[in-house]
Symmetry: C2
Subunit: 136 residues, 2 copies
């Protein structure tokens, strides 16, 4: 499941559909786009994760209200097989959804995916004259 | 500017509007939702960044086609005052947009924001009996 403030969660779903065709396999919560209460949807998602399954809730921002409600739902359920991942970005969601068919996802798998999906500044500068001098 | 595959970019915009009311200050490209070519929109964004401004293009996934086109637009312009940040997530976009009013954003600012916005697994487990034993 992906849960966010605004339409970010369905935005991730749209992007995952284009990149790997699996966005619709993920449940989404677009919170605060109207007055509806999304707590029940979180609780229902957690409740239906079977003992031999691994549930994952991707949230948008650590410490935000959506994240807090997700933590409350998981802690309240006393289930240990539902992970919450915050500060979600596309490569992380993509890696996890693509590996979901390979068997249960472990915490190690998630941590490895996180390491490989840190935000980055992309180099665009051409080598400067100075760099070229250094080379020789 | 935020540019992504699918509706992720406008999803970020929606979320930023809810969290800080500044989403509409950001231009967005939702690529591949139809057949239109977004290259021109990237080029126009880069072209209009003045010499005394700092442009930032947030993209969804490092190495993805949207990111590649953004790199091509910036390298083609030979401008050094347009940064591309990839693997964007909400805390990073939020931090940068909130600091945009405080003067020019530097590469150091961006790198600091990146450090603070890494995806994380959120702790939900209650202390186990074993942990308590360790404590005493």
């Amino acid at each position: 499941m992906i849960a966010s403030h605004g339409k970010l969660a369905s935005g991730f779903q749209s992007s995952l559909n284009i990149l790997c065709g699996k966005g619709d396999e993920v449940e989404v919560i677009d919170a605060y786009v109207d007055d509806s209460d999304y707590t029940e949807k979180l609780n229902e998602f957690v409740a239906k994760i079977a003992e031999d399954e691994q549930g994952i809730i991707f949230t948008d921002i650590f410490g935000g209200s959506v994240n807090q409600k997700a933590v409350a739902a998981v802690v309240g359920s006393r289930k240990e097989n539902v992970l919450i991942v915050s500060n979600t970005n596309l490569p992380l969601a993509l890696t996890v959804i693509l590996s979901a068919g390979d068997g249960p996802i472990t915490l190690d798998d998630i941590n490895e995916a996180i390491e490989e999906s840190h935000p980055v500044v992309v180099p665009t500068a051409l080598p400067s004259q100075e760099d070229e001098d250094d080379f020789f």
